[in-house]
């Protein structure tokens, strides 16, 4: 009796382990963070992109309901891809675009905007990338949709036409 049970239990344990690992094989091991957030906008103090004046977050996220905070850099190739969508989004009056110029130099960033157009209402420069960390950002490009001082959605990587349509639908 006893000797019959032991092989059965062993086979069962083996099967369960096999199923767990087999299922685990198919899971993506690239971590994808939560993109639907309900977090307060982190407060920050950064230098303005155009001049050396200090810009504080409380003054930026004040007048409108919706803000689109976009982290960009002239050295980032995917930023060029998403630029046309930002220019499209700029046409909408209900949303204000805030640019976070990430670890960039002024000359390159200015010529980037000169060539492709400037979609931003306000640009601040995050020279060492520390404020982007406070926002929970990974790198460039990355964007956050802010509604009434709360981050409601985050876009990792360049935004595309679908994202643009989604944003336009949200702010309607």
């Amino acid at each position: 009796m006893k000797s019959k049970f032991i092989p059965l239990i062993l086979i069962l344990i083996f099967l369960i382990t096999f199923v767990i690992f087999f299922k685990g094989l198919k899971n993506s091991n690239i971590y994808a963070p939560d993109t639907n957030l309900k977090k307060e906008v982190p407060s920050f103090e950064l230098k303005s992109f155009e001049n050396d004046s200090i810009v504080i977050s409380e003054k930026i996220f004040k007048d409108k309901d919706y803000y689109f905070m976009n982290i960009w850099a002239s050295w980032c190739i995917p930023c060029k891809e998403e630029h046309k969508f930002l220019m499209e989004l700029k046409k909408d009056d209900r949303i204000e675009l805030i640019g976070f110029n990430y670890k960039d130099n002024f000359t390159n960033a200015s010529s980037f905007l000169k060539d492709l157009g400037n979609p931003y209402d306000i640009i601040v420069s995050d020279k060492d990338g520390t404020t982007s960390i406070e926002w929970g950002a990974y790198g460039v490009p990355e964007s956050f949709l802010v509604y009434q001082n709360k981050i409601i959605k985050r876009f990792i990587g360049p935004i595309n036409n679908e994202d643009l349509l989604e944003i336009q639908k949200i702010i309607k």
Partner: protein, 120 residues
């Protein structure tokens, strides 16, 4: 006058020496336990990605502001989720992970003891 000069130089050197060895140690310890989210096989300590470089600065600043290791971890967990920590915290999701080795150890021990007494 000369004495004052020497005194000042010594004071400056001492201050440089004071370069907060402890803080560097803590900083390294923390960054070694953080996963670089851009190059996910590496720790933040090992990585040279823009993300990791910025994160190292943030941690350095937080240590200088007097935040404890735990506070820094919880700050990062809030921003990036628990995935950023190499050492997972004991929580509802990780009970199994932490307790399984102990359970296996106990079960194995029980089998060995049982056999041992049986032989006797």
């Amino acid at each position: 006058m000369k004495f004052i000069h020497i005194f000042l130089i010594v004071a400056i050197i001492l201050n440089f020496n004071f370069l907060k060895a402890d803080e560097i140690k803590t900083e390294n310890k923390i960054t070694k336990n953080l996963r670089c989210l851009i190059c996910q096989g590496q720790s933040v300590y090992d990585s040279d990605s823009e993300f990791a470089i910025s994160l190292k600065i943030v941690i350095k600043n937080k240590i200088q502001q007097g935040l404890s290791e735990e506070q820094i971890y919880s700050f990062l967990k809030m921003k990036y989720g628990e995935w950023i920590l190499y050492d997972p915290v004991f929580s509802r999701n990780t009970y199994f992970l932490w307790l399984l080795p102990i359970l296996i150890f106990l079960a194995g021990g029980a089998i060995i003891i049982k056999r041992f007494y049986k032989k006797k």
